[in-house]
Each structure stands twice: as structure tokens, then as C-alpha cells.
């Protein structure tokens, strides 16, 4: 019997297939690698045609520089690249590819047909490979550029082929990659077709907004607010992109897309930086939609971590984190439009100026001043952070303040608004410590042993917030003082709230736990729905809200106000 464990050197084709597995995981990886090549080749027009989710064939056609006839053969050899010459070049990689693995890897696991003509050459080349071996090579006529057709992917790697998901799943992965590159390179005219049907197209006019509308649809794409570079920061890390207003959110982090120097990356910390930027602006468990493009000197980042290049390492990760968080935060708090009212949105789509594709759009987006008020909620204008000066009209249902502003009607949730006011006031006062009011007679509150333990573990933090508590043995806690804002609240109800905030904050750092507790405190201290307010109280509340930095959402991320423009009202009354 043969000893199966004896050590042997693998035959080259097996080694190639194993290596290919790292680069080419699924049809989408082929699309990614080949589109990257097209971009690196300076293409402005890239067409991706996919059959049967990429299992049958993937064809990428570009108008890039092409491959000179003499170099076509080497192109398919492992570690052959035009993008890198010396090891030092790795320190400042400016192209998407550089490892020289893609073509070789793809060729190793499929049937590839390459047709290319380099700039300045009279005639092009056709080359056909199977399992990495050349089976055909001849001159051929074609316009400058390259077309690569990858057929029968993994036909020689049954194990991998077996693990391909359904056609729909593979399609989705391809779509995701094409979308990413469309966003990262808005100057690129990108076209994607599945089984002969065009599914995605970008105009290639360098207008990212249009790409976003193509990628995310009108609803999301048009509402994203631009992340503007801060020219004054002087930091070598520049952050641009688009982020959703707080009124727009998703159930998972999938809507957060990161690019670094034009390369799509996955980075849980930077994703968190984006989420963190929406701190208190989104309801808990909801995540923003954002496209964040980071540009930084290539020598401060290592993209050569993994063949797929989706992971990167930063020399100063904290600085990148801060830059991303600050840029997103600034744009979101600075420009977020007030939550539009769904029920009053125009029912029919006809007649909307952007319906008939782009030029109108571009004009509107860049010239916010001229856009009619009625479309405001849908137009991501650079609205000022502050809410306009409002005049109180009255109160509805003892819960909502009705106010009039220069742009129509505003409905303000009195509880949410007051929460926001208190929260910002507390945040501002936190530096000097929050005022605390002593109790005439200390109050004992009975809790569960875990809850009491949790409070005990955070006595110092809570003291900073104005809670003077003393463990009183077992599960009883003695309350000696409460935050001044809570003097009207009931300690027996406040403490369980605090415990809940602490439980939520188990995995958070101290500062965040304190903020979580503060949010609870504000919730308790704020006027409740059902409380009748005098006109003066309402005016005071609105005035205080106008002074807030993020007046449009409560600390838990719910909107504080709904805006109904005069135009919308007119439309509802059929006066349009």
C-alpha cells in the first residue's frame, strides 16, 4: 500500500491552482481583478458582460492602453506585472494591482481569451489559454484596448466549482464589485450586463452623485449628503464621499463602503468610525449608508496584506479613524435635511425634474438656492446646521409643537426635542462635572443583585454625572444625590434606567458608558408626551433647540421634527 503522507513537490499546475484560489475565489473576483486592470490601464470605458452569474463567461472590454504584442505572453506568467519594478515600489503603490498574480491565477482555473491592441501598434493580438497553457495565439484586428473573456471558470477545479453559490448570489457579488468601482471612479463609463441585458450603467461624466443614484436608486442616492474635505485641517489624510442623512438608515452595516486611494477596502475599525460619527443621530440598531473615500500618502498604508487587497494596514490607524469620524460627523450634522414626511411626498413620479436623467440634476445639486422649496426634503442641499427661526403656533395632542418657519410647517416632538436640548447642555457641562442635587433624606432603592453590582462598579462614573450612590448591602442602593436635571424624577424609576444603560454599555469604554447613562437621564428628565405646555414653554423649547448643534434628532437618533413645506401643503390640497 502506498504511503499517502510522503512529501512531494506539487506539479506546477496544481500549485498554480492553489495560488489561484487565493485571488480567484468566485466569479466576482475575476470581475474585480479584470476591472482593476482596465482602470490601471487608463481605460475610460469599461464594459462587463456576464453570462450565468459568471460561471459560463465573463467578458471585460476596455479602451485602455492595451498590451503590446511582444508582452502578451508574459502577461499570463505568475508575478509578471507592469505596475511594479522594484521592492521599494511597494512602499508607494498607486495602482490597484501590483502583485502580478491576477491574470495568471485566472488563466490557471478557466479558459481565457485575450484580444488586445496596444496604443501605437498597428495590429492586435489574440491569445487563448486553457488551464494556464497557451492553446492559440495570432495577430488580430481590433480597436485599441483589451477584451478578456473568461469562460468555464473553475472547470478544472471541481471542488471550487461545487462551492459556487446560486447564480443569483454570484450575480449579486459581481454587482457589488462593479458598483464599488463605479463609485470609486465616477469618470469611468461603466456598463454591466447579465445574460445580454444591461443592468447597470454610469454616465462617466465624473459626477459622483449620478453614480450614487444609479447605484443606490433615487431615494437613497439623491438624499446622501456630501462629505466635504476640510481644507483647513492640513492633515495628509483627506476624506471625501457621501453619507446618509440621519433620516435614512439600514438594518446592517452593509451600506457603509470604504475606499482607500481608490481601492475598495474592508476595515471594521473605519466602518465603526463611520457609525460612531452618527452617534445619537440614528435609532439604536440602525446603520448609515455611506461611501467614504480616503486619500492618503501611499507610504503610510500597507495594502499588501492579502492577495485580494481588501485589507490594509495603516501606520497611524488612530489618525485615519479620527479623520473619517470627524469628516462624516461634520457633514452629517452640518447638512442633514430634516426628516421628510413620507405621507406627503408627491405620489406620482411624473414631472420631477431629475426624472429624465442628469443635466437638470447636476444643475440643481450645485445650485441649491434656486430649487423650489417643495423639493427640499429630497434635495441634499447644503442646508445650515441650525434650524430656521420658528414661530410657535400651538400644540397637538399634548405631544407635538406646531411651528411655522420660513419654509413652511414644522411639527416638533416635544419630548425628543427636549431630550436633545438637555443632552447637549449636559455634554457641555460635563467638563466641569454635572450639577447634582442632594436629597433631604437618602433614599433606598432595591434592585437585583446584578444591577446593584453593576452600579457599584460604576460609582465614580455615576458620581461625575451627579448620582451620589452608596451600596447599602445586598441589592440595596442608597441614593444621596441625583443629577440636578432629575430633581422632578423618581429615583426608584431612574436607577433601573441607569442600570439598563450600564448593561448596554458593558462592552463600551467609560466615556461611552457615561454618554449612554446621560441619554437615559435626558430621557427621564425631558418633558413627556401628554404634558400640556404653555406658549412660553414651547417658545423656550424651540429657542433652546435652535441653539443645539444637532437639533434635528434626539440623542437616540429619532427625528425631533418633521417639515412640511408650503408646496407640499398646497399639493395635498390639490392646489398644484
Amino acid at each position: 500500500m502506498r504511503n499517502d503522507t510522503s512529501i512531494r513537490v506539487l506539479p506546477p499546475d496544481v500549485a498554480a491552482q492553489i495560488a489561484a484560489g487565493e485571488v480567484v475565489e468566485r466569479p466576482a473576483s475575476v470581475v474585480k481583478e479584470l476591472v482593476e486592470n482596465s482602470i490601471d490601464a487608463g481605460a475610460t470605458d469599461v464594459r462587463v458582460d456576464v453570462e450565468k452569474g459568471g460561471r459560463q463567461s465573463i467578458r471585460i472590454t476596455d479602451d485602455g492602453r492595451g498590451i503590446p504584442a511582444a508582452e502578451v505572453e508574459i502577461a499570463f506568467q505568475r508575478h509578471s506585472t507592469s505596475k511594479l519594478a522594484r521592492a521599494e515600489d511597494l512602499d508607494h503603490i498607486v495602482t490597484l494591482g501590483f502583485r502580478g498574480e491576477a491574470l495568471a491565477s485566472i488563466a490557471a482555473v478557466s479558459r481565457v481569451t485575450l484580444v488586445t491592441r496596444a496604443e501605437g501598434e498597428e495590429i492586435g493580438t489574440l491569445m487563448r489559454l486553457e488551464s494556464g497553457a497557451v492553446v492559440d495565439q495570432r495577430p488580430i484586428g481590433r480597436p485599441p484596448g483589451t477584451a478578456i473573456t473568461v469562460q468555464d471558470l473553475f472547470y478544472n477545479v471541481p471542488a471550487r466549482r461545487k462551492f459556487l453559490r446560486t447564480e443569483a448570489t454570484e450575480r449579486r457579488h459581481i454587482d457589488a464589485w462593479v458598483t464599488r468601482y463605479a463609485i470609486a471612479y465616477p469618470h469611468l463609463r461603466l456598463l454591466l450586463s447579465h445574460d445580454g441585458r444591461e443592468t447597470f450603467r454610469t454616465p462617466g461624466n465624473d459626477d459622483l452623485r449620478e453614480v450614487l443614484i444609479a447605484a443606490y436608486g433615487m431615494e437613497v442616492g439623491a438624499n446622501l449628503v456630501e462629505i466635504l474635505e476640510d481644507p483647513g485641517s492640513g492633515s495628509p489624510i483627506r476624506v471625501r464621499g457621501f453619507a446618509s442623512p440621519p433620516s435614512l438608515h439600514r438594518a446592517n452595516r452593509g451600506g457603509i463602503t470604504l475606499f482607500l486611494n481608490g481601492r475598495w477596502i474592508q476595515d471594521s475599525r473605519l466602518t465603526y468610525a463611520v457609525i460612531q460619527a452618527y452617534h445619537t443621530l440614528l435609532p439604536s440598531g440602525r446603520y448609515p449608508v455611506a461611501v467614504v473615500m480616503i486619500a492618503m500618502p501611499p507610504d503610510q498604508v500597507d495594502v499588501n496584506v492579502h492577495p485580494a487587497k481588501a485589507e490594509v494596514r495603516f501606520s497611524d490607524g488612530d489618525a485615519v479613524f479620527r479623520a473619517v469620524q470627524r469628516a462624516v460627523r461634520n457633514s452629517v450634522t452640518g447638512q442633514a435635511p430634516i426628516a421628510p414626511t413620507a405621507f406627503l411626498r408627491p405620489a406620482a413620479s411624473g414631472g420631477r425634474p431629475w426624472e429624465g436623467r442628469s443635466p437638470v440634476w447636476a444643475a440643481r445639486a450645485s445650485d441649491a438656492g434656486e430649487s423650489p422649496l417643495g423639493q427640499q426634503p429630497l434635495l441634499p442641499q447644503h442646508a445650515p446646521a441650525a434650524i430656521p427661526a420658528l414661530r410657535v403656533i400651538g400644540q397637538v395632542g399634548a405631544a407635538f409643537v406646531v411651528a411655522e418657519g420660513p419654509e413652511g410647517l414644522y411639527l416638533i416632538d416635544q419630548h425628543a426635542a427636549h431630550e436633545r436640548v438637555l443632552y447637549e447642555r449636559m455634554m457641555a457641562e460635563r467638563e466641569q462635572g454635572l450639577p447634582s442635587q442632594g436629597l433631604l433624606t437618602p433614599l433606598t432603592v432595591d434592585l437585583s443583585p446584578e444591577a446593584a453590582g453593576l452600579l457599584e462598579a460604576h460609582l465614580d462614573s455615576l458620581h461625575r454625572l451627579g448620582f451620589v450612590l452608596e451600596p447599602f448591602g445586598g441589592s440595596t442602593v442608597l441614593v444621596r444625590a441625583l443629577p440636578a436635571v432629575l430633581t422632578r424624577a423618581r429615583p426608584a424609576e431612574v436607577l433601573p434606567d441607569v442600570v439598563e444603560a450600564l448593561e448596554e454599555g458593558r462592552s463600551m469604554v467609560d466615556a461611552e458608558v457615561e454618554q449612554a447613562v446621560m441619554r437615559r437621564v435626558c430621557k427621564r428628565a425631558a418633558v413627556k408626551a401628554g404634558q400640556v405646555l404653555t406658549r412660553e414653554e414651547m417658545a423656550g423649547l424651540i429657542q433652546a433647540l435652535e441653539a443645539c448643534a444637532s437639533p434635528r434628532t434626539c440623542p437616540h437618533g429619532r427625528p425631533t421634527m418633521i417639515h412640511i413645506s408650503v408646496d407640499q401643503l398646497a399639493r395635498e390640497f390639490g392646489r398644484e
Binding site: 447642555r425 457641555a428 457641562e429 466641569q432 462635572g433 454635572l434 450639577p435 447634582s436 442635587q437 442632594g438 436629597l439 433631604l440 433624606t441 433614599l443 458620581h463 461625575r464 454625572l465 451627579g466 448620582f467 451620589v468 444625590a481 443629577p483 440636578a484 436635571v485 430633581t487 422632578r488 424624577a489 423618581r490 426608584a492 441653539a547
Partner: protein
């Protein structure tokens, strides 16, 4: 019912009972005032089930009877009438009150008097006798300290304690305590301790004040508790106020009043109020904190108290007052509203502030009287 009275008397009676009307009740009858003939007079009654007020006014009764009339309509109408004789007739068949005064006549739709919850009237004249002026002052010094929210129902009430020859009123809301003692005319055979809703006490104080106006001396207020110990009745000339009692036992207020002190600061009451009012302008923007920096007199300089407030948004304010200070220097902070509330009812030209430390309660007392004590818990900055 057929009855005539003077418009002025009717207006005055309605304004007294009108305060017990509950305008937004789910029970429609509670927004009404009951008009009933009673021994040759007209009795007006109103109640919100917690407080009930009866008021009797002189009238000529031609036919006995009673009817309940919407308070708002009746009060507004009577206020608008000329100072003349008002003739009223209750028409049972239509439950309407026909009202004539001078050359105007009105008909108001009412409800059957049977539906009106009975407002008890005292039986006899026996009870604890209190001087109305003393009662009015005591209420004004105490009732404001009661809690306004229902978290601890007992604290929404005023402890009313009669023992031997003295009366004690006390109220606390968890952050401050007000206690006032007053001597009674005659010693009592047995002591009595009840908790009366602060709203009822405030109303009682107001009625006492009304009756004292223009009168040289007023008859004593007579307090009686119903045998079932559920209600207390305060009997004044022509007016009876009935209030529910709050069951439970009041916290031991004596234990809350600090016994010792490290510093006593004596300062002009009006000056201190003025300084606090100035501080309030800035304090109200934040957590209503007013800070007292108390410096005892040195060899060359007098003692002084520096009153200050700071607002992150608006600015800050400092006022300095001369004071006579015994003991050590101390910095202490209070809720400015609580401080002004208490100083406003001190009632003497000078006030004493006793403090032990910046985290121990402060005690305000009138200088020259030892019948009033107000305890305020300090505030502090957590850090």
C-alpha cells in the same frame, strides 16, 4: 328655587368656591357650581372630589330648592352684571336657571342638584380654633415646599399637627423642608396629626387672606376631622373648606433638621433675595445653581457673603453682601429657586443661614423668631 341676592355678594361667593371647580374633569357635574337655599341664605358649593368649598351668601329666599350650573358660564355672567339685585329662579322641568339683574335676563342650562357630590358641612362649632392670620402666614411659609409630582403622595401634602397648645405645619419635597410652629389659643385635650394636600392648604390660606382683608379682627378658623378620619373641615365665617386627607405617616421632620452648625451667617433678608434674583438670571440657563462663598470677618474686613451664578451660555454674575459670620469659611451651592422661595417667606429683616459643610444641608431661620425653620439640600458639581 326662587332667590334674590346682591351681585357683589354673589360674585365674591363664586370667586371663593370657583377655585374648587375642576374644569377638565371627566365627570361633567364637577365643572358645575351647586346653588342651594339653606336656612334663609344661598349656599354655593363646588368640589373636585379632593377639595370642596361651601360658601354662604345673604339672600332673600322665596322658594327653597337647588340646581347645579356650569361654573364658567355662571361666573362669567355674574361678573358682567351691574352691581344690582340678582333674581334667580330654578326651573325644574327644564333644569334651567333663569337669572335677572337690572334690565338683563339670562337662562343657563344646568344639571340636577341630586347628581352633585355632597360637600360635608360641619356639625356644631366645636373643633380646634386657629387664628386666621397665623394660619395664613404659616401656610405661606410651608405649603410651597411640598412636592408637586405624585411620586411620593405623602410629600404632596402638608403635615398638620396639633399638640397641646401648639400647631406645627411641615412640608418637604425631597430636597427641602419647611417647618412652622405656632401657638394655639387654648391647650388641646388630645393631639391630632394629619396630612392635608398642599393645594387645599394653599386654598385655605387664600380664603383666610380674603376674609382678613378689610376686617379688623376675624373669627377663628375651626378645624375638625371627620369621625372616619378621611377628611378635614376648616370652618370660616360663611365658608367651609373640606379636604381629603392623605393616608400614611409623614417623615420624621425633626430628624432632618441638622442639630449642629459650623458657620452661622446673618444677613439682610431683602439684600440676599435681591442678590439671588440677580443670580437667577444666569442660574436659570443651567441647573439653577447659586453659589454662596461665605467669608468670616477678618481683623480689618467685615464678614461677607459672595453670591454668584454662572451660565455657560449667558455669562456670570457676582454680588457681595456684608454679613455677620460666626464660624469657618464655607462655599455652598443651592438651587436658586428654592433659596428665593424660602427667603421670601422668612418674614424678618434679617435671616440666618446655618451651614456645616458644603455637602450638608443649609438651614434658614428668621432672626428674632424661633418659630420657622427651612432646610435646603445643597447642590454640588460631580467631577
Amino acid at each position: 328655587m326662587r332667590v334674590s341676592c346682591l351681585q357683589e355678594n354673589l360674585t365674591r361667593g363664586l370667586s371663593i368656591v370657583g377655585r374648587a371647580v375642576s374644569p377638565r374633569s371627566t365627570l361633567p357635574i364637577l365643572s358645575h357650581i351647586l346653588l342651594a337655599t339653606d336656612g334663609g341664605r344661598l349656599r354655593l358649593s363646588a368640589t373636585n372630589l379632593e377639595i370642596g368649598i361651601n360658601c354662604w351668601i345673604g339672600a332673600r329666599v322665596e322658594e327653597e330648592g337647588s340646581i347645579a350650573i356650569p361654573a364658567r358660564t355662571l361666573i362669567d355672567l355674574v361678573n358682567a352684571l351691574p352691581p344690582d339685585r340678582v333674581d334667580m329662579e330654578g326651573i325644574v322641568r327644564t333644569m334651567t336657571l333663569n337669572l335677572r339683574c337690572g334690565r338683563s335676563e339670562a337662562n343657563i342650562k344646568g344639571m340636577d342638584a341630586v347628581e352633585f357630590p355632597p360637600v360635608p358641612v360641619p356639625e356644631g362649632e366645636s373643633g380646634i380654633q386657629i387664628d386666621p392670620e397665623v394660619l395664613r402666614t404659616a401656610i405661606s411659609q410651608v405649603a410651597f415646599a411640598a412636592a408637586t409630582d405624585e411620586a411620593r403622595p405623602i410629600l404632596t401634602g402638608v403635615l398638620v399637627l396639633f399638640d397641646d397648645n401648639q400647631m406645627v405645619l411641615a412640608a418637604a419635597d425631597g430636597y427641602r423642608l419647611s417647618v412652622r410652629q405656632a401657638a394655639l389659643g387654648e391647650p388641646l385635650s388630645e393631639s391630632l396629626s394629619v396630612i392635608v394636600p398642599a393645594r387645599a392648604m394653599t386654598e385655605l390660606g387664600r380664603i383666610c387672606g380674603d376674609q382678613l382683608k378689610g376686617a379688623d379682627s376675624a373669627a377663628a378658623v375651626i378645624a375638625t376631622v371627620t369621625p372616619d378620619h378621611n377628611r378635614i373641615l376648616f370652618q370660616l365665617p360663611d365658608v367651609v373648606l373640606v379636604s381629603q386627607l392623605i393616608p400614611g405617616s409623614f417623615p420624621d421632620y425633626a430628624q432632618i433638621i441638622p442639630q449642629g452648625r459650623n458657620t452661622r451667617t446673618v444677613v439682610g433678608t431683602a439684600e440676599l433675595i435681591k442678590a439671588c434674583r440677580t443670580a437667577q438670571i444666569f442660574a436659570r440657563e443651567g441647573a439653577n445653581i447659586v453659589q454662596f462663598h461665605i467669608h468670616p470677618q477678618g481683623e480689618l474686613e467685615p464678614g461677607r457673603i459672595v453670591v454668584s451664578a454662572t451660565s455657560a451660555e449667558t455669562g456670570d454674575d457676582v454680588s457681595e453682601l456684608d454679613a455677620s459670620i460666626e464660624g469657618e469659611a464655607v462655599d455652598i451651592a443651592f438651587n436658586v429657586n428654592y433659596t428665593i422661595d424660602a427667603l421670601s417667606v422668612i418674614g424678618t429683616p434679617q435671616v440666618a443661614l446655618d451651614t456645616t459643610s458644603s455637602s450638608s444641608p443649609g438651614v434658614l431661620r428668621p432672626v428674632g423668631e424661633d418659630n420657622f425653620v427651612h432646610v435646603i439640600m445643597p447642590m454640588h458639581m460631580g467631577q
